[in-house]
Amino acid sequence: MSERYGFSLTTFSPSGKLVQIEYALNAVNAGSPAVGIKASNGVVLATEKKSKSLLHDDRTIHKVESICKNMGLVYSGMGPDYRLLVQKARKLAQEYMLVYEQNVPPTQLVKRVADVMQEYTQSGGVRPFGVSLLICGYDYDEDRPFLYQCDPSGSYFPWKATAIGRNFVNGKTFLEKRYSDQLALEDAVHTAILTLKESFEGQMTEDNIEIGICDKEGFRRLTPAEVKDYLAQIG
């Protein structure tokens, strides 16, 4: 089968940096923008989903994916790396369910996913993942929503609202002004769309953005029709 390297490809530079992780973050920052906002009663995830060609038929490829009933995620960066992490996250959620017969609490799943990402910065012969993830979930025990970001390094951060990918700095500045703790989910969706609009080139339609929401009922991706309604409300 395949020969494995016994040594890590991610090594320290003299200044104490792990350059491979820095480069991975560059890949993330070049990716299409994604936004996450935690409202008082739920979380919204939104991302740009532009096709490179008019010939693309991408109604079945999704960027916003669910992990389990109460959790979902979105990314910025390399699509194929994301696909792998979605599969791993789903499996981790089910393994938890098998042992504890409970839906995995968001904090727990995020820890496990981040551990996977960290492994790839230290194991032999592999490179870090070229994605940052925005993971959202509803914790039924604490009865509140959660939003986390997972980086290629394996660090994870809880956020009230954040943006990742291209123009994330502008996105976060925009959110800092707009965010409030009393935000309801409906308002959060509007704010998320407006944040994406800041860095959007061209006309925003229901086919070139994707939105997912997570509340007490669970996580779901909005249908294009629902997205169209929200876009119409914004004008």
Partner: protein, 207 residues
């Protein structure tokens, strides 16, 4: 190990539900076949504020399984920063037991718990390879399980208060173990309520 591994050491436990309270009781005998070695071997272990488990069967496995389960629950509490719920504990235990499906532990288990907020009560029992049960009103495990089950059924009434529950549980256990030479030599009864847990040691027939 003698003819029947599960009756080599002996021992018995019983759990019964009341109104927003649970009782779990066990005997205290530790014996090797027909010899009684000690009379202070209790088989009930606490895993959370209101979650208790009792293991009956081969004594070495009673000790090992209770400790290995504690290992897992300790890590759970550290990782998740919260206390265990009864149904979660039960699932962890049955998982632990099934991991040894083809070289099993020789213990049968009773998992009991109470939700301190809602007063909801839980009693589950499991065989030694992790077969799950429903949330039941009455459950027994051990060498005298059938005897105490019969008495338990007789004394059980729905929605008993803590005192009535204690009486019913104690009488079922103490009188049932008299029919079994491998169980008895005293008993311990835990009555678990929303705001307190009462432990009582009973002196029965010392034979």
């Amino acid at each position: 190990m003698g003819d029947d591994i599960l009756s080599y050491n002996g021992g018995v436990a019983l759990a019964m539900k009341g109104k927003e309270c649970i009782a779990i009781a066990c005997d205290k005998r530790y014996g090797v076949q027909n010899r009684t070695i000690a009379t202070n071997f209790t088989k009930i272990f606490q895993y959370s504020d209101h979650c208790f488990v009792s293991f009956c069967g081969l004594a070495t496995d009673v000790q090992t399984v209770s400790e290995r389960l504690k290992f897992r629950t300790n890590l759970y509490e550290l990782r998740e920063q919260r206390k265990l719920k009864p149904n979660v504990l039960y699932n962890m235990l049955t998982n632990l037991l099934y991991e040894r499906r083809f070289g099993p532990y020789f213990v049968f288990a009773l998992v009991v718990g109470l939700d301190p907020k809602t007063g909801e009560t839980f009693i589950y029992d499991s065989d030694n390879i992790g077969a799950v049960s429903d949330n039941v009103n009455l459950a027994t495990v051990g060498t005298a399980s059938e005897y105490i089950f019969g008495l338990g059924e007789l004394f059980f009434k729905p929605n008993m208060n803590a005192d009535e529950l204690f009486e019913a549980t104690s009488q079922a256990l103490l009188n049932g173990v008299d029919r079994d030479s491998a169980s008895g030599w005293g008993a311990v009864v835990y009555v678990i309520e929303k705001d307190k847990i009462t432990v009582r040691e009973l002196k029965g027939r010392q034979d």
